[in-house]
């Protein structure tokens, strides 16, 4: 085995290397290096500046009797893209209350299709679906309103949302709009993807998940899988994980997740729509 070859070879390192390391080890134990000494200074200066600016703003708002921050909805999203920042699935009919507001108590939700984004009472529910953990045990047969979205790639540059059909090859381009297209999956393709997700058993996975906790990579990789089963959205979010092609894991659960992600991704990237998109400008992998 290759591991054995390496273990034996590393065991043959010269005594002086080993001794130097052991001395360094002892020295570090006795006198650990101070962490981020320079940063601490910068941090202190930055904190003072923030304090001064905050105080100035507060005082000026008090004297002018003018609110510092208007309604939160007036604020642009932090990444400047209007909030559509590939950070997970936009829930089907998001914003019109279908998902979050219409969970009824008789459990027959799946049989009653929501009609054009209006709840039973016709009122949009303002509750935030992301705040509600949802752990569905999916039925073997694909639910009528099944939808999914997948964000993947280095820094999550690629995405697909079956609800809107928007397929994004990359957001990292001079003209990102050139890398977007619409892909409407066939019923068979959707069923194929549902079967993969059903076998994965998404209820087994936490909302924040790292399949490779022992690994890291720079750049990091992102996979966000969201599943809508007609009742709620389950999202499994893997951010800042190691690039899956470069690591090996014995964890069956992690392997199942990565294999499912790859299979879904392959369905998307083998489509004519994907192939028609231009070549990447930048490559991270």
């Amino acid at each position: 085995m290759m591991e054995d070859i390496l273990m034996d070879a590393i065991g043959e390192l010269d005594d002086d290397l080993v001794q130097a390391h052991l001395e360094m080890r002892q020295k570090l134990a006795a006198d650990p290096p101070k962490r981020f000494r320079k940063w601490e200074n910068y941090l202190a200066v930055a904190a003072c500046l923030v304090l001064v600016v905050s105080m100035t703003l507060i005082l000026s708002s008090v004297f002018k009797n003018d609110p510092i921050v208007k309604d939160e909805t007036d604020l642009p999203s932090s990444d400047g893209d209007g909030g559509n920042d590939n950070d997970g699935m936009v829930p089907p009919n998001d914003g019109d209350g279908d998902i979050e507001g219409d969970t009824d108590t008789d459990g027959d939700e799946e049989d009653v299709p929501p009609e054009d984004g209006v709840d039973g009472d016709g009122v949009t529910d303002g509750s935030n679906w992301e705040d509600m953990p949802y752990n569905p045990v999916l039925p073997e047969k694909m639910p009528k309103h099944f939808q999914f979205s997948l964000v993947w790639g280095t820094y999550g540059i690629s995405s697909y949302d079956s609800q809107t059909g928007e397929l994004v090859k990359t957001t990292d381009a001079t003209h990102p709009e050139d890398y977007k297209t619409i892909l409407h999956l066939s019923r068979d393709q959707l069923e194929e993807i549902y079967a993969l997700i059903y076998r994965l058993n998404v209820a087994n996975y936490p909302e924040k998940y790292n399949p490779f906790p022992d690994y890291g990579s720079d750049p990091s990789y992102t996979i966000i899988l969201s599943v809508y089963d007609g009742v709620g959205v389950k999202t499994i979010e893997c951010r800042e994980i190691a690039i899956p092609d470069g690591v090996f894991t014995m964890d069956a659960k992690a392997r199942a997740f990565i294999e499912t992600y790859r299979a879904i991704r392959d369905v998307l990237t083998e489509s004519e729509e994907w192939k028609a998109l231009p070549e990447y400008e930048n490559f991270y992998d």
Partner: protein
């Protein structure tokens, strides 16, 4: 470790030469904890680690004299690591050993694997090439390499010792592994 309260390495070696059994007690007192750590990182089993420690003392007793180690600490560590790895291989034949050694070596092997047919390499020769690479590393990376792959220390312990984040250690490990792969390929070694 307070060096004042222990015998010097030279004095311990002298005890071995005079066949004084106090040599073992003094070795255990001074280096017992270190040797236990080396064995435990390989085996993830406290009892087995203690047995490796005792086997190390016996082996040292048998080897000094005639050998006269100039660097006693490295000499002892090498013996413990060798014994622990032999035991590790026996244990692994029955089941996967959930130790840091397993994780670190699988990870390293995965990165260094060239995909081609691996050649047969002498451990000593490969060790010499790896040694050259380790010597070329900056001090921090050298520490990380030795701690992760020689001592089989955990990433969290390395991060704590260097006051780095675990993520920073992983990044350094990635650089080290890729550097080693290139170094091996430059020496026409394909694993």
């Amino acid at each position: 470790m307070d060096n004042e309260s222990y015998l010097s390495d030279e004095s311990i070696v002298k005890l071995y030469f005079s066949r004084d059994e106090n040599a073992i007690a003094q070795t255990d007192l001074k280096y017992g904890k270190l040797l236990h750590t080396v064995a435990y990182n390989c085996l993830n089993d406290d009892e087995c680690a203690k047995e490796c420690q005792n086997d190390t003392y016996l082996e040292t007793w048998n080897r000094i004299p005639p050998e006269c180690p100039k660097l006693l600490r490295a000499f002892l560590c090498k013996i413990t690591r060798c014994i622990a790895i032999n035991r590790y291989k026996q244990m692994r034949a029955k089941r996967r050993v959930p130790s840091e050694l397993t994780v670190s070596m699988e990870d390293l092997a995965y990165t260094l694997h060239s995909g081609d047919t691996a050649g047969a390499y002498d451990a000593k020769e490969l060790g010499r090439v790896i040694g050259d690479f380790v010597r070329s590393l900056p001090q921090k990376q050298r520490y990380i390499f030795m701690e992760r792959y020689y001592m089989a220390g955990s990433v969290s312990d390395i991060a704590a010792a260097l006051r780095l984040t675990e993520s920073a250690v992983y990044k350094e490990l990635t650089k080290i592994k890729l550097g080693l792969k290139m170094h091996l390929e430059r020496n026409e070694i394909y694993l």
